[in-house]
Symmetry: D2
Subunit: 138 residues, 4 copies
């Protein structure tokens, strides 16, 4: 396991909310992050689909990790998400990549896929800005 992947897993493990949801880090390489989540009952909304808030959490977090893979410790400054279809299946996979990065900021895009017995479907696309957390400045 690479040092970078180790760093990513440490960050994810230290997020109580990600532990509550059960998020796993699948890939963490310079410019790319893949997060996965098993779909279970308590992550759903009133129509039986995964709650949009779960999908956007996963996209948001994958965007931050992608940015963090080139910037180091980072936070999402802003993002936008389009939901494409209801999220149904066994597992969500959010893959985010860095489109452009500078010294303190990266713009990333993310695709969220739902994987079920009948294959996989893209359920959302997101785009956002990730900011490096500076050691001492606010």
């Amino acid at each position: 396991m690479s040092d970078l992947f180790e760093f990513g897993r440490t960050v994810l493990t230290s997020q109580p909310f990600s532990a509550l949801l059960g998020t796993q880090l699948e890939t963490f390489e310079p410019g790319t992050a893949v997060l996965t989540l098993l779909i279970r009952e308590e992550l759903k909304q009133q129509h039986g689909f995964v709650h949009g808030g779960v999908v956007s959490y996963l996209a948001d977090n994958a965007l931050t990790f992608a940015g963090g893979s080139v910037l180091g410790d980072s936070v999402t400054s802003e993002y936008k998400i389009n939901y494409l279809r209801p999220a149904i299946g066994k597992r969500l996979v959010a893959k985010a990549t860095v489109v452009s990065s500078g010294r303190s900021q990266a713009v990333c895009q993310c695709t969220v896929i739902a994987v079920g017995d009948d294959g996989e479907r893209t359920v959302a696309v997101a785009q956002g800005t990730i900011n490096k957390v500076e050691a001492k400045s606010a």
Copy 2:
């Protein structure tokens, strides 16, 4: 309690993910929805702030409820969120209002506030499109 508020509370109660997080419906009137959430350890990220995914879940849900207050059963089609500062305190309050609505779609804006012992601070602003769920179409 109004019929509308009753409808809103029924929808919220039937969202397992909102139950998991502990979201409460504070206001639900034509054009306005206010959702609140007690901040607790398991909703946080690695720096001790509320996880961005929780803030955006609450904004997303408040946007959907605001749209739903004029459209009936609804889902978020897309939204965008800007995080303004770390979410710290005792409680999150997301207030969403309808900016414009038609027969099947509404555009809404939302402000998320963190309330603590030392007052309240706006931690995020969001804007998005809510679509009415049609009875028979996909």
Copy 3:
């Protein structure tokens, strides 16, 4: 005329594209900027409405000016716009305000109104991030 307004008007005048479109600065105060534009034939699209690109240009520019009113020389980093209805009438008015600002960045919101003989209508709402242009960095 205040020094700030004078600064704003100088920036706007030095934008060849704003001169091409005929944009005017109506208000420029700390935290607020209002830009206006007379609607004319060559700003329209194929259905006879003002082209969305004109509406978003005006929103984008108003967001930058609002941010610039507190940051000094600035550029838009990113923004999102929702078109609410066709822009018809005599004049567009874009009013942008600062929601939150720090040393080098501001988050702003903007409302674009179309004014005609029969009153005024909100045609778009936008939200974005404005970055201060640092003197020496890229």
Copy 4:
């Protein structure tokens, strides 16, 4: 020349604002649209770069055309754009593709590239929702 391309060129030609800017349709196939624009002095802002409003106009229009390639006559409902670096060079190229589409709506993404003597650079990425213009409904 295909019927689809002919349709696209007719729409573009009937947009007075696109004529004012000089936009050309380079590609128009099911799911893809490429628009180009020669950079000239009057499209710039105060720092000598192409005005953000021009970049976002081109992205917006390319998104609409991409959506229109599968939906027919269409308008942009909303979009978001991240500016990545100053737009400098001889020519802008906006390439938009359909990510997902239904009967009346498509979600599209767009990349805007600036082409100069020293090669090409991605200057912006955008993502948005395109709505089909229904013949009789509002």
